[in-house]
Every structure is written in structure tokens, then in C-alpha cells.
Symmetry: C2
Subunit: 484 residues, 2 copies
């Protein structure tokens, strides 16, 4: 509600508290803070506006006297009138009711918090699933943007499935992974998250069950649940999803398997070739379609991973999802789905109802990037960087976490799935870390049960910060353990 | 299913029919055309592959003999086996069932058709709601892209509400229209269509009714209906929506008014200042929130339109939607919502579940475009161009449609709402036009009842083509009228 944009002026003739009262009044009278809106706490006001708490209190008292705000017994201060409602009758719509009764579930509160804190100045992001800005290929991107700027002749709505140039580039690109497809069977989406969104809107009845690994990235989302579907989690071992458990779980309501066979999020597990065959055979037998989310494939460290399930799919039973978010730029918002043409057509039609296609500039830039060969070169460099980062991180863990946690050594991707040996409150850990400017991703947001894991990413934070923050994390863990 | 990418080679030693059979076989064996897929007709094959129909027939006979495809009694040929299913048992998932049972409604078939035909080579688009590529500001865009390429330091996920730079630029920009907002109360979306999508997912219970003008752009979409809501249409006169009818229609299930007061799509009507006040007062009295879709505001021709409803909204009851699709570039996929902060926060959270934010490049380009002042300059020029186009189009209508139709002379936007005097089948008209390479938007897709209107856009087609196509359109209308 408050950001760094505005602070009261120390040099103004108007007293600080009056400036603050005026600022709040404008928020109220412009309709940004409607009647019923809860104000920030006094402490938040004081911190962000950089004034004493007593100044805030005086400002709020003034507004209370004017009848604009009121302290509630439940704690907190809310807007009860606006400048106009004092003159005539208040007629604000009851927005709270609207917000609460909307169809889609809100994000998990921890995720809302993470989404917000990630942009807080100075915070160290230990969990972020993204490549560090310091590894961004600025020069290459500049070159490509120049080229695109010379070639762009117009920028209208694109074809439903996405620009034909990019679809062509993608169908060439996935050949590397043994996937044969024409551009007609490729749909460009605004990131692979949107692929999941379109699938939930387009190909499943309400009462469906979607099976996935336990834990899974998918569990941190509400995409399918918001449309009335259920998720079911299946355990994993170090070779991937447990096939027997999978077999026993499939029943009439099971409509899809969502899986991340390659450098799984959050566990980092790489499914073996053998396990892949088992999964494919089982799904084939059960006629169970598969969504293969291959976001991390390019990020192998020493050795190429086995080919995707899709490469062995002779029946059009795998919907294959890719993205450039993890290896090039999440802000591009470009991903793709490869699958049977009838399914792609259906999803494209729904995409035309969701956003009329993805950004033309992003699409033009990405096709150039891939076709120029710069993409391939850049990823090679990135891999070298990630090996270094993983090794350093493992060393840091050896140093500080040996006695308090266990972990895997990932062969690719971004994640170390840190399992604390003693059960402590991860909520408390999350909170205490936040207070010290360290942001972690609690494992529970990905899991079907409470767990004592933390997803550590070695891809994002500066290497120096990684060490200091992990050290501090270990200390806080020990502190909490001692308390409990 | 077929595109221009592949044609059999005339110079190859392999006979044409064999090449075609091989081509189809690959589609089937790669899983793009799964079992159950309906093939294109013989005529379509012949046309697109540029061969005789007899060649196509021979190719299909070959595949039938192999057991891969089958002619159906209902007409049409479908895939019945794939290369592997002939060896072992076929295990293709039943995709048809999946596609049919998905939650979201498909687009209207006319709209699916339009979405497809718009990209057919040589077609003249008489209905397209977009600025002609010939008016695209190539030089200005080039300049901006260069600037952006020099400044982009990274490209990660953006803040939930969108880049702070662009939100700042937008909150400055809307001041021009009397709207006061801070960047905290602005949400960047991937086009204004996505704004509607987020609203349908985020702030309404299933059984809600949304009121809108009759006809309305909104009626051509299924966004709200797919989530279980209803649309109700209210008539218009030349001053805008009918307020008495609106008053009588509001009941307990009415949750929103969606309105396009400025250069309405599809009628082109500009709501008067007085009517705006009446609508606002009524909605205030009824506590009925308003979505004001202001996509066409900048496209006034002689005279600025009245200020938006939002500019007079003292209670935070208006959610204001803007976009650059209509005046700058639809391929940018950038729009915005301005509203009470609590609503914006909720929508931002849902956007994080839909696509994790809009393209960073698009956002960077647009903020530069606006802040540099180039946007303002470009729109001035565009307006001059559109005046010329409107005038010419009206002249053409005078020439060819005087006896067969009525129309408005729009004061802005893109659209002329052509009403045919005699009732004829617009479906037939649509079809006959398509066959002659003319694409029209039948009025019925926007309406709650069958009508005999056509939405003509003077913004898209080349001016020469506008004349030839409109002339031909008039002839076809006369032809059909004579027949009926
Ligand atoms: C497995 C997986 N799939 C999809 C996504 C979404 O990525 P995007 O929408 O940026 O492509 C993520 C991001 O964390 C992921 O880990
Ligand atoms: C009134 C109105 N609103 C919204 C849109 C959607 O535009 P976009 O999503 O490109 O911003 C259109 C496009 O035709 C329109 O006419």
C-alpha cells in the first residue's frame, strides 16, 4: 500500500503530520483506498515514511477527528468514510464481498509474501528459481534487439498459435531433444505457467484428478483446484516418481499425470531412462495423458539428461511444455506446448479468449535469439557458471549444515532440497529469516504434507551473499532447535 | 492443419501422391494427428498442396490400404490407426473427450473462423479492429527499441502489479483524462482482454449477472459465461446506454456494469456528458460497480470526448481499463486497470497465477514510448489519418449503400455500424464474402438477438481495397436480397 515514492518533506513549512494526513486523505478521496480498506500499521507508516511513530499517531488522530478513519477493536485502522461520503450518503460498492467471493483461490499466503518480498531492497533471495541478473546476456540481447528493431514492420495481433517464425524456430529447436513436430502442433504461450492455466480451462472436467510427484511445483499453485479439480501426490525415490504407487492411484477420475522428470522442482531429482520407460508404458496401458514440464532440461551440469518422454511418444499422449524462463529470461514470458494438433487447436482457441496471444516483441526477440545461434552459446556459458555455483553452495552446506540437515547434489537445474534433521517450525524460520533480510522458500508450499524442508536455489543470489545468508540460516535453525 | 510450409516437389523422382502419403504418415506417426483426427477435405488438400484432386485421392487410397485412415459415413476421413498401433495395441488417449469436456466454452464459430481467415494471404479485412500496418510508427519504435536495448540490465520476473516504471508512466498518462491514481492502484495486464479475464476469475461469484450495452464487444466473448455468469444487454440510443432500462434491470444478482462509453464497439456511439452523469448517479445509488472499458478514447477525430466516468468517481466504484492495442500496437499486449487498491491487489495475485506478469520487453518499450513523448506525437498523426479514412469510407457508403443500408458517422474509434435495410442471412453473406476474399464481422456476434448489421472498420484495410471490397459487398448484399 505504501512504497518508496512518497515521503513527507522535511523542509516544507507544513508540519510533517499534516503532510501525512493530507497524503492519506488523497488516497481516500481518489478512491484508491475505499471505505473498508485497512490502513498500514503505525509501525509500517513510520518505517516507510521515515518519521517517528508519534508523528504518524498525530496524523491518524486528525483523520479520526474528521471522521475518515476509525480504530477497530480487532486492531488496525480502517477507512470508514471518504471526503464525499461525509457530504452526502456514502455509496461505495462493497468491494470486500466481491474480493472474497471471486472464483479463483488466492495464492498461498506464503507465496503472496514471497512475491512481495522478492522486490524489497537489499533482501537476499535464497529460494528464487531464476538465473541471477548478473548472468543476464546483456550484449547478446542488445544485438538481437537492434536486429529486431530494424526488421519489425508492424505489430498487430498475432496468429492464434503464435508467430509462425517462432513456432518454426521452436519446432527446429526441440529436434535437439528428439521431438519431431511441425509448427502447426506448437502453441506459443506467455510462460509455461500459462500453459498450465490453459490446460485447466480447456481439457478437463471439474471433478478430474491430476496426479503429480510429491512434492511438486504444481502443489504451490491453485490453477487446477480453482477450477474444481484435485491434485494427488505420488512419492518419489532418487530415480523419479514411484511407478507402483502411481499404478495403484490411477482410477476413473484420474485424467492427467503432470510430471517434471528432468531436474525436478523442488527436489532436483533427475528421472532415469529406465524409470521414464516404466512411466510411459504404464500411462500407455492406462491411456493416461501426460503433461511433461521440461523447464529445466537445458540446465544440466556435467552430463546431458535422458531424452524427454515426448521423444518416445508414438501415440500423441504427451503434452510437452517448455520455457525460456529458467535458462534465458523469465521476463520474456515465452513458453510453448507441443502436442496433438487437435489439442493445440483447442488450447489456442482458449488463449484467444485469455489474452489474444503473447507479446510480439518477445516472440520476435526469441526467434532471433534462437535462430542466430546466440541462445545455444549463451546456455553453454550459463552451464559453466551454474556448476561453479552448485559446487560452492555444496561446500557451504558441508561447512554449516552437516549436523543439522541432509541434501542432494543436483545434476542440473537450480535446486537443493534441504531436509532439516530436527522438526522445527518452518513458519517461524521463514519469519525470522525475513526479519533479517533473508528470503527462503519453505518446502511445505510444494508438498502435500507438512515437511521440514527448504528449497535452496544456487542460481540467484550473489555468491558472497549465498555464503553469508546460508551461514546465518544455519544459525537461526540452531537457535530455533534449541528453543524447542 | 495444413499450411503453406510444405508442398510436394515437382522435380522429385518420387511421385507426387507418394510424397503426399508420406507427409500424412509423418503427421500421424509423430502424434500430431492422433487417432480420431479428422483430415482436411480432398479439396483442401488439393488447394493447399497445389496438386490435382486425383493425386490426393490416390494418396489417401494408399493410406487406407495401409489401415491408417478410414472414410466415414458421416463424410470426411479420419485417422484410425497410427504406425505403432498397427504393430501393438493402440493406446492413444481419447483426446476428443478431453477437448469436449473442458470448462471453457470455445469461441463462437464465426470468431474462430475470423481468427483464422485474418491470416490468409490476400484477404481484405473489412471488420478488423486494429490500425493498418501501414500506419505503424516504424521509425519511432526503432528509436525506442534501441534505447531500451541499451538500458535493459536484466529480464527477470516483474513485480506482481507490473514494472514500477510503466505503472508510473501510466499514472502520469491518465492524468490527461482527469484520473488521479498512484502506481499502487494500477495493474499492468497483457491487453485489456486479460483485464476482463482476471475480473471474471477474481471478483465475482458464479451466479452473477453482468449488465452491458446491447450490442457489445463483451457479447462476442465467453469470458464471464465460461465461469458460470450471465450477461444481460441494455439498449442504447445515440447518447449511450438507456438509463431507465438499466434502472429496471438491476436486481440482486446484478454484480457489475460493463460499459464502453467512448466510441463504443461495435456501434461507434459516444456517450454524452449528461448521460455519463446519469449512469454514475444510478450506479452510485444502487452501489453497482462499473467496468469502464476505454480502449478507444484516444481515437477522437474532430473533438475530444467527455472525460471518463472514472474521472468523476469519488467512491472507488469504477474499474477503469485502458490499452495500447487500438492506438499503438496490439502485438504489444499491454493494457492496464486502475481501481481501488484492494481490488488491484486481488487481481494482481490472480495474474501471478495466470502468467506471472506481462512481457518485460513490452513493458520497457511502452514506458519509454510514453515518457519520451513520441506516443503523444504519433497519436496526433494517427488521428489525422483516421479522419481521412473515415471520410472516404462514408463517401464510399454513400455511393454504394444508400439504398440498402443505414449507418452512423462516428466521431472517433474505428467502427461504422452498418444496418442493412432488408433482412437477409448474414451467415450466407459472411460465407459468400469469404469466398471472394473479403472478411466481414457480422453484427450478430456482438448482439443479444439476431440482427442485420455488419461492423465495418475504416482503420485496417488499404484505402483502395476498402473501396473495391465495399463495392463488392454491396453487390453481394443486393444479390442475396434478390434471391430471398
Ligand atoms: C517446473 C516449472 N514449470 C513452470 C514454471 C513456470 O515458469 P514460466 O511460466 O516462467 O515459464 C516454473 C517456474 O518456477 C517451474 O519451476
Ligand atoms: C472495447 C474493447 N475492449 C477490449 C478489447 C481487447 O483489446 P486488447 O486485449 O488488445 O487490449 C477490444 C478489442 O477489440 C475492444 O474493442
Amino acid at each position: 500500500m505504501l512504497n518508496d515514492d512518497w515521503k513527507p518533506s522535511e523542509t516544507s513549512a507544513i508540519p510533517l503530520y499534516k503532510q501525512i494526513a493530507q497524503f492519506i486523505k488523497e488516497k481516500i478521496s481518489s478512491g484508491e483506498w475505499t471505505i473498508g480498506t485497512k490502513l498500514p500499521t503505525q509501525r509500517e507508516f513510520a518505517e516507510i515514511l521515515e518519521v517517528n511513530r508519534s508523528t504518524v499517531i498525530t496524523a491518524l488522530e486528525d483523520l479520526k477527528a474528521e471522521g475518515l478513519i476509525e480504530g477497530k477493536n480487532s486492531g488496525g485502522t480502517v477507512v470508514v468514510n471518504n471526503t464525499w461520503s461525509l457530504l452526502n450518503n456514502s455509496r461505495t460498492p462493497k468491494w470486500e464481498g466481491y474480493i472474497e467471493r471471486g472464483i479463483y483461490k488466492p495464492n498461498l499466503s506464503t507465496i503472496q509474501m514471497i512475491n512481495k518480498l522478492e522486490f524489497k531492497n537489499g533482501i537476499i533471495r535464497l529460494g528464487t528459481g531464476e538465473v541471477s541478473p548478473s548472468l543476464y546476456p546483456k550484449q547478446a540481447m542488445k544485438k538481437i534487439l537492434h536486429k529486431v528493431s530494424n526488421n519489425l514492420e508492424s505489430m498487430g495481433y498475432e496468429q492464434p498459435k503464435g508467430s509462425i517464425k517462432l513456432r518454426g524456430a521452436i519446432s527446429e529447436y526441440v529436434k535437439k531433444f528428439g521431438i519431431k513436430t511441425s509448427p502447426e502442433a506448437v502453441l506459443i504461450v506467455s510462460g509455461s505457467l500459462q500453459a498450465l492455466q490453459l490446460l485447466s480451462m480447456g481439457i478437463l472436467p471439474k471433478a478430474s484428478t491430476i496426479i503429480t510427484e510429491k512434492p511438486s511445483y504444481l502443489k504451490s499453485l491453485h490453477i487446477f483446484q480453482s477450477e474444481g479439480m484435485k491434485l494427488k501426490g505420488i512419492g518419489m525415490d532418487e530415480h523419479g516418481i514411484n511407478v507402483n504407487e502411481l499404478r495403484n492411484s490411477i482410477n476413473k477420475s484420474t485424467k492427467l499425470l503432470y510430471t517434471i522428470p528432468t531436474f525436478h522442482n523442488p527436489t532436483g531429482i533427475l528421472q532415469t531412462e529406465e524409470r521414464r520407460d516404466e512411466v510411459l508404458n504404464l500411462c500407455r496401458e492406462k491411456r493416461l495423458p501426460i503433461i511433461e514440464d521440461d523447464a529445466y532440461r537445458e540446465l544440466w551440469l556435467e552430463e546431458k539428461p535422458p531424452m524427454p518422454l515426448k521423444s518416445k511418444d508414438k501415440d500423441g499422449m504427451v503434452l510437452y511444455i517448455g520455457t525460456v524462463s529458467k535458462c534465458l529470461a523469465a521476463g520474456m514470458r515465452i513458453g510453448w506446448i507441443v502436442g496433438p494438433e487437435a489439442v493445440i487447436d483447442r488450447l489456442a482457441d482458449i488463449k484467444m479468449q485469455a489474452d489474444y496471444g503473447s507479446s510480439s516483441i518477445s516472440q520476435a526477440v526469441l526467434s532471433e535469439f534462437i535462430e542466430s545461434g546466440l541462445y545455444e552459446k549463451y546456455i553453454e556459458k550459463l552451464r559453466n557458471n551454474l556448476v561453479v555455483r552448485r559446487n560452492i553452495t555444496i561446500e557451504i552446506l558441508e561447512k554449516y549444515f552437516k549436523h543439522i540437515a541432509q541434501w542432494n547434489v543436483p545434476k542440473g537445474g537450480f535446486y537443493i532440497w534441504l531436509k532439516l534433521k530436527k522438526h522445527i517450525s518452518i513458519d517461524l524460520l521463514f519469519k525470522m529469516c525475513c526479519e533479517e533480510g533473508i528470503l527462503i522458500n519453505p518446502g511445505s508450499i510444494y508438498d502435500f504434507v507438512k515437511n521440514s524442508n527448504i528449497r535452496i536455489s544456487y542460481s540467484y543470489a550473489d555468491i558472497k551473499e549465498l555464503e553469508s545468508a546460508l551461514k546465518r540460516l544455519s544459525e537461526i535453525v540452531i537457535e530455533i532447535t534449541a528453543r524447542t
